[in-house]
């Protein structure tokens, strides 16, 4: 709780009457659009962010890239792994790399919804109720061990994640842009926890399992991180406005009909698969496409390739689908089922025969 209070206490613009209904960045959402960052600067910025993360987290370039992808795709990230592999470190590093407001919530069973969203307090001097924003009013919100909080508190976070707004006492307060929740979850020690229900898992764009680093990366980690926390050396490399511009650039990425068809085909395949009890939801397909767009942009392209979709499909979909009991007992995992589906699903390519082209264009 201490740490939360320490980080959440932010400069004044978020507080008081000036903050009544419109947050600072509301203009970015409602009014004129943010500047679209051009490809070159986009590339530079993304390189800087990834390099900065790479300094702290050794040998996890994929996870770092995926985290950045989720940030640029305006999604939320779920980090799920055993303790001590750097989940929180990754979240913190990402937050620090960007010059924006950061808050951290350590989820505990006694955490209340108002701790997350904020609360209206009666100001005796002004004789009015004043809204004191909760921890969620930040650009990047780190939710540690999210499954330790009660379902009530978890669902308080839900509304914020989905709608980018907080409703207290009938008032809606817009959240900042960029806004990203990075939640960590510990799959071991499930006792006394409240596992995220399917509906809640569906709101996270991607789930990353960090995994153990390889031998070289681990040795390097032991060497460099002996003295002090590596976080100290991390300085912001981009501003929040830069990130907003990057997000705008990602939104400009072109998606052809073929890609849309391919995405839908993936979704249908998961729903029709005999080995899955629950397939991918339409929201998950939307998020899959957004993640693919961010991937394409990070790759320096202004259009999405099937490869982009395939790259993020596992991270985006694996935590949303539920295996059939038979498949689960025969040793399948959501990852293997997804891989099987992707390996058998035809990619929307131009059919190889010239005569078919005639038929198609006719």
């Amino acid at each position: 709780m201490e740490s939360k209070r320490q980080v959440t206490v932010e400069p004044s613009p978020l507080q008081g009457e000036a903050y009544s209904a419109l947050p600072r960045d509301a203009a970015l959402l409602n009014g004129h659009k943010p500047q679209v960052m051009d490809a070159e600067r986009f590339h530079d910025a993304s390189e800087r962010i990834l390099a900065s993360i790479g300094k702290v987290i050794d040998g996890k370039a994929d996870a770092a890239k995926l985290a950045l992808t989720v940030l640029l795709a305006q999604g939320h990230l779920l980090l799920e792994d055993v303790p001590g592999v750097g989940k929180t470190l990754l979240a913190k590093t990402l937050a620090r790399t960007v010059d924006c407001t950061v808050s951290r919530i350590q989820f505990t069973p006694d955490l209340l919804p108002s701790d997350v969203t904020g609360v209206s307090i009666y100001n005796q001097s002004s004789r009015q109720f004043e809204f004191r924003p909760g921890a969620v009013f930040a650009n990047i919100v780190i939710g540690d061990e999210i499954n330790r909080a009660s379902a009530k508190t978890q669902s308080a976070l839900l509304e914020c994640m989905e709608e980018h707004q907080v409703t207290v006492d009938g008032h809606s307060y817009q959240l900042g842009l960029p806004f990203m929740v990075v939640a960590t979850q510990n799959p071991i020690e499930m006792e006394g926890t409240y596992p995220l229900p399917e509906a809640q898992r569906d709101r996270f764009m991607a789930r990353i399992s960090m995994g153990y680093p390889d031998t070289d990366a681990e040795i390097e980690m032991l060497e460099t991180h002996q003295a002090a926390s590596p976080l100290i050396n991390v300085t912001p490399v981009v501003t929040a406005a830069d990130v907003a511009a990057m997000i705008a650039a990602v939104q400009q990425v072109y998606v052809s009909t073929a890609i849309k068809e391919y995405t839908v085909a993936i979704g249908r395949a998961t729903r029709e698969s005999a080995r899955l009890r629950l397939g991918a939801s339409p929201r998950s397909l939307l998020q899959l496409l957004r993640a693919a767009k961010a991937t394409a942009a990070l790759d320096g392209r202004d259009f999405v390739l099937p490869d982009d979709v395939v790259d993020v499909a596992e991270s985006v979909l694996a935590h949303r689908i539920i295996l059939d009991r038979k498949a689960a007992s025969s040793g399948d995992t959501p990852q293997t089922v997804l891989r099987g589906i992707l390996a058998s699903l035809p990619v929307a390519q131009e059919p190889p025969g010239a005569w078919r082209r005639d038929k198609q264009s006719a």
Binding site: A343, P346, E350, G353, A354
Partner: protein, 832 residues
């Protein structure tokens, strides 16, 4: 309730779909979740088994005459299969099910064959068993005494029904409780072995197809309803399976039909038709007329016999006389009652007038095994034989009931009347001293035989002239000698209908020629019989010393010299052999029209040209016209042949070159799209996609086929990392760059924003192709050029379209049936 009933029948119902249901739900009390319901399975399985057995039984058609035997068989098989299905549906224990099926078999057999002897018509009693014993005895008699298409009498049909009914139970037991459906094929093969060995046409298409269909159904059935969920998991029964199995089956069938045509000598040579495994080996008591054809068709000369004789020419060796013609078949009459023991002194039962020629013949039977002793006609005494031998006064055939000719060396003294044309033409006396049996003609003789006989002998005066006329007719160029024609046309045998067929088709071998002449002679009033034995054979080049006679050349004969010839009786001269078979044996001097001595050349050439037009000995039968006709057709007119050859070569070239040509045309069309102008920008836009298609096909041709589920980028990187494109950075760097830029172009065109045309791809494709050619072996290059896999795959895909259509039709029909069955079952009251 439900749970109790399950415990009551702890059936190892291994085939049913029940095992898919998780065990946790098994004792669910709701009537809707009936976990052990066997559903359609027993019925489909029983149907499959019945189809398989009945299909295999179709091949027995030539073993039995007609189709009368098939109806009892159907009732038996269907009754047993129905019983099985019903018992399975009622979820009776497997052992009890099998026993029940056995009981059903016994019941249906009693009902069909021994209704009077059974209680209530179908319950077997002791009387039934006695009747069954009689039936079995009758069947045994049939097996021993009759040859290939046997009449379907009650005994043999009973045995067949019983065996096939048992087979149904056996196959079902293998397929369902024992879960070894594949092994059930052994039983089907057991059925088809019978026709394969006995029938000259072997199993036949219908039987084979029927058995195969049934067998595949059994396999498919046990797969679809597999107890192991894993076997049928992930395999939607619908899509690939049926199509795949259909294509596989069609390919196998096609190969089986095409390969024998392509391999030379499948009908002659190594596997001559009809020379298949003969269960009776060389003749041993069964009808020698039947085995003769098999001997003649045997590829190797089994049963070699050597002999040397003091007579001036090589002689015919006679082992048995076939004189009994009952209308159905010619068969030897052993006359065991009147045979006489002891072969020291053999006397013909008739008197011979005139000069008698004596000869001494030393014979080594070697490995030849037969109860009949080969000897020259007419034996007077035989020395040196082991065992007890008897001779028949009527036919002078020598036979042993206990020993055989195996490894016998013996000397035969024979005395034959000197027969001349003059003597024959004077022998017009009415036949005395022989029985009327030799003149008997069955009443149901086909009219063609009588007509032909009368037509041929219309101008002949005496018996000799008639015999000569018949022989001349049969040796004329109208008739051809062929071992295969009777088999192919289905008249390989010696019955009356066979004779009619032979006279119509005019092609056959010695059995047909000799029986035709014998019957026609009887029609004309000349006593006749058929001698079966060996044509003279070949000189071995060695000489053998005969006791008291000097040394004589040795001859050899083997199974290929097996022969049958007619003997006609002339009063005063006895039995006189004739030779109506073209190109075989020696025509005796007296049997030629002009008494020019027949050449000594025997049957040296007939092996080379079986079934072709036979050129009779020119000295004996000058055939005007016939020669010219046969000789003139081929070489006279070379032009059509040449044109035909050229056309054939061109066609062949076009056929062989068509893949390459199509591929080149396709490449041209892709790289130089014709109509960019009238289509405007779309035509331009397509260029990158067309180039990409070409790149994919190119990679497919050289061994890196693209899969539909991979992205362009993935395919590109796979192509570049494969060895066929060479190493990046080296000589083939240009190709790598070309592949990369083609991929980028395609991606941009396919997935990027609409934009203007990419640069022409022809040059880059050429670079890639060059690199591919440089980095692959000549075999791959050859294949890519002449049989491009990309094209072949598409063609085969197109060829498979009908099969896929049929497959989807089957699938939809099956689904419809299943749906209506389910709806129907929903209407029935639930079983508790």
């Amino acid at each position: 309730m439900t749970a109790t009933s399950h415990r009551g029948s702890p059936t190892t119902y291994r085939g049913g779909p029940s095992q898919q249901v998780p065990s946790g739900e098994a004792p669910g009390p709701t009537p809707t979740s009936r976990p052990q319901a066997p559903g359609l399975y027993p019925w489909i399985m029983a149907g499959s088994v019945a189809v398989a057995v009945l299909g295999a039984a179709l091949s027995l058609n030539g073993v039995f005459r007609g189709w009368a035997w098939f109806m009892p068989l159907i009732t038996t098989v269907v009754a047993v299969a129905l019983t099985l299905a019903i018992l399975r549906t009622l979820r009776i224990q497997p052992l009890v099910t099998t026993l029940g099926a056995l009981a059903a078999l016994a019941g249906i057999l009693s009902f069909t064959f021994c209704r009077q002897d059974s209680f209530l018509g179908f319950i077997p009693t002791t009387g039934t068993f006695a009747a069954v014993g009689r039936l079995i005895k009758r069947a045994a008699e049939t097996v021993v005494s009759e040859s290939a298409p046997v009449a379907p009498n009650a005994g043999i049909v009973f045995i067949t029904c019983a065996c096939l009914g048992l087979l149904v139970i056996l196959i079902d037991a293998l397929a369902v409780p024992l879960s070894m459906p594949a092994a059930s094929g052994v039983g089907l093969i057991a059925v088809m072995v019978v026709p394969a060995t006995i029938k000259p046409q072997s199993v036949g298409v219908a039987g084979f197809v029927g058995a195969t269909v049934g067998y595949l159904l059994i396999l498919g059935c046990s797969h679809w309803f597999a107890p192991d969920a894993r076997l049928q998991s992930g395999a939607p029964r619908s899509s690939g399976q049926i199509r795949r199995s259909l294509v596989t089956g069609a390919l196998a069938l096609g190969l089986a039909l095409v390969v024998p045509l392509a391999i030379p000598g499948f009908e002659t040579g190594t596997f001559p038709q009809g020379s298949r495994l003969s269960p009776w080996g060389t003749s041993n008591g069964l009808n020698p007329m039947i085995t003769l054809g098999n001997s003649l068709r045997s590829p190797t000369g089994a049963g070699r016999i050597t002999y040397s004789t003091s007579s001036s020419a090589a002689t015919y060796l006679r082992s048995v006389t076939v004189d009994h013609f009952d209308g159905e078949t010619w068969a030897p009459d052993d006359r065991s009652a009147t045979r006489r023991a002891g072969v020291d002194r053999i006397e013909p039962g008739y008197s011979i007038q005139g000069e008698v020629v004596n000869a001494v013949t030393s014979i080594n039977a070697g490995l030849f095994t037969s109860p009949y002793l080969p000897a020259p006609f007419a034996p007077v005494s035989v020395n040196g034989l082991n065992g007890r031998w008897t001779w028949d006064p009527a036919t002078l055939s020598i036979m042993s009931t206990e020993s055989s000719t195996l490894a016998q060396r013996y000397v035969v003294f024979s005395a034959a009347p000197k027969i001349t044309a003059q003597a024959l033409s004077q022998a017009t006396g009415k036949p005395k001293s022989i029985s009327d049996d030799f003149l008997r003609v069955p009443g149901n003789l086909p009219s063609i035989v009588r007509q032909t006989a009368e037509q041929v002998t219309s101008s002949a005066g005496n018996n000799y002239a008639k015999a000569l006329a018949i022989q001349k007719y049969l040796r004329s160029s109208e008739f051809t000698y062929s071992l295969q024609a009777p088999v192919q046309n289905g008249y390989d045998g010696n019955g009356l209908s066979v004779l009619a067929d032979f006279l119509a088709v005019k092609s056959g071998y010695c059995v047909h020629f000799s029986s035709a002449m014998a019957v026609m002679a009887r029609v004309e009033g000349i006593p006749s019989r058929i001698a079966v034995g060996y044509a003279p054979g070949r000189l071995t080049g060695e000489t053998v010393a005969l006791v008291g006679q000097g040394s004589f050349p040795e001859y050899e004969v083997d199974a290929r010299d097996a022969h049958a010839w007619p003997e006609l009786y002339f009063e005063g001269l006895g039995w006189v052999p004739f030779e109506p078979t073209p190109s075989r044996g020696v025509v005796p001097e007296y049997a030629t029209e002009s008494s020019v001595p027949g050449s000594l050349s025997t049957n040296a050439d007939e092996k080379d040209v079986p079934g072709t037009a036979v050129t009779p000995p020119p000295s004996t039968f000058p055939l005007p016209g016939g020669d010219a006709q046969t000789a003139g057709s081929a070489p006279s007119d070379p032009l059509p042949t040449v044109i035909g050859t050229i056309a054939a070569v061109l066609l062949l070239a076009a056929f062989l070159g068509s893949p390459r040509l199509s591929r080149v045309v396709l490449r041209r069309r892709r790289l130089n799209p014709k109509e960019p102008a009238d289509r405007g920008s779309p035509g331009h836009q397509d260029s990158a996609a067309l180039a990409w298609a070409e790149l994919q096909d190119l990679a497919t041709d050289y061994g890196v086929p693209s899969t539909p589920s991979e992205t362009p980028r993935h395919f590109s990187s796979r192509l570049r990392s494969s060895s066929i494109l060479g190493e990046a950075g080296g000589l083939d760097d240009a190709a790598h760059a070309a592949v990369a830029s083609l991929t980028a172009d395609f991606e941009r065109q396919r997935y990027g924003r609409p934009m203007e045309a990419a640069s022409p791809a022809a040059a880059r494709i050429a670079v890639v192709r060059e690199s591919l050619r440089n980095n692959t072996s000549w075999l791959v290059r050859f294949r890519a050029t002449w049989l491009p896999p990309s094209l072949m795959r598409r063609w085969f895909h197109a060829l498979g379209a009908p099969f896929r259509a049929v497959g989807s039709l089957f699938r939809r029909t099956g689904q419809g049936i299943a749906r209506s069955w389910r709806a129907l079952r929903g209407l029935l009251p639930q079983r508790r």
